[in-house]
Amino acid sequence: MIHNANSSEFSFQGQYDFCIIGAGPAGISLALELAKSESRIVLLEAGDREFTEESQELYLGELLGQEYADLDVARLRYLGGTTGHWGGQCLRLDDHDFETRDDIPLCGWPIRYDDLRPYEKGANEILNLTSFGRVRRALDDNLEVVTQRWSADRAFYDISNTEPIRFGPRFTGALETAEAIDLVLNANVTGVSVESATGRILKAKVENYGGQTHTVQANHFILAMGGIENARFLLQLNSKQNNQFGNQGDMVGRCFMEHPTQHCGAYFITRRLYSNSRYWQLERLLRRQKPEKAISPTQEFQLNSGIMNSTVHLDRLYRRPLNDQETGGSEFIKNLEFEKDYFFSGDAFIVSEQAPNPASRVLLTEGRDRFGQRKVGLDWQLLPIDTKTMRTSIVEVARMLIRTGLGRMQMDPKLWEGQSNQAYDYSWHHMGGGRGCPIRRKQELWTEIVKFTEQKIYTLPDRASLLHPVMQIQRTRLYSSHFGLPII
């Protein structure tokens, strides 16, 4: 059933088993899973079915660090959440992305991809994906799956370009007919009631846009508001509750991460290879529109070079010479000996992982929104290793092109110089702000979640409303099943 908190007749009816705050991909997926059990679920969405100014302006925030997208632009505050402008790209993480590294503080996951694998199929179904990360083939008119061609030296990533699933319109029908779910629109959670003896959350205060207040009671409260709002909610809660909600180590909101991105410029290839080699395969792929092609450093190279993971994306090559502007006025191309009409060029850009950095954080500012809640600030910071990751990765790809005689490649001279104080592009991925402690081992994660479990409040994975919805849904299911919640 779908209700509207703005309606004068609206009120919450009785006690719920689960109260999910946030109807984005995580909240909707979880509600529909929980509805398969005997549970009563209330799903609170602060926005309406469609975009409204009065809801969206509550996402306004202050940017305090690296140049970044305005926070009311990078996110959407209505049913379906930020999937409303999601590009539709899904990318499978490498297995080694989960591993702890001694040279990178706070790095690593408490789980492995194998822990998530059992939930891959179900997550794929929600996103209308099949064979995620397998051979590229057309599923239907809107979906293609990309193979991992080879990975001996540098791996091609598995990239699935889907018809983006807008969780709002896609699941409105299911939410409408689900008797176990009460989806309440225009329901802003502006406070919670905590039992002083146990620290448990008993009920939440919900306000609509007409100044009316309601109270919802539930056995479990689940935060599914995204990487920035989950952190904001927990920071506000902890500021009034002596940091007992996972913030004893002052880690809530810290280690906010993005995917720093930079356009490299052009690259060119002058050579057609006829021997069946890895480079021949690369050269053939680079002439194709699809699949998307990315070159990534191996795990061993990352470890030896002290860098994070990255992907250097090489756009399709076209048979065309570079103009003077693209050559940067350099005469070197004239000095290279090759047939001028046998010259293929394209664009390249890099997307890299960011190392965990406690100084990069979501925080509360002094400003207040219309509900009296403290506004959010984002202080996105980069470390020298992040610049090094981008520089080293691009240089390594360029070195490969030179070594094999395939061609040459550009990069930003500032990045070559290693200047770390420059602006980079970004991917609106909002990762990391929800961690409650410097997680290093699996047991610590479970301990943290058990603590939340005792308090009847959970945070859903912040990663992925955009790039990794599969990951987000997988993790939601993993965590839920670990604690015996009725998740299939």
Binding site: Y274, A398, I402, R403, G407, R408, D412
Partner: protein
């Protein structure tokens, strides 16, 4: 007259078909050979000595005449 001419017509069509098939095979093959002849790789560099110029990551031997070498790796 008609009956005597028909075998000759069939043979002509068959020949034409063969020619067409031969064309579709030989044409691209010839084109491929031509492409191969135009293959013009840059020299391989076992140990590139990298530098940047005009935003390009180059081997030091790429420059003969112009440009100062900047921040050689």
């Amino acid at each position: 007259m008609t009956d005597q001419n028909e075998p000759a017509k069939r043979i002509t069509r068959r020949k034409l078909a063969k020619l067409a098939i031969a064309g579709t095979v030989i044409g691209p093959a010839t084109w491929g050979v031509a492409l191969k002849l135009k293959d013009n790789p840059l020299p391989e560099v076992a140990e590139p000595h990298l530098k940047i110029e005009g935003g390009w990551i180059l081997d030091i031997d790429d420059i003969f005449n112009d440009g100062a070498i900047v921040n050689t790796e």
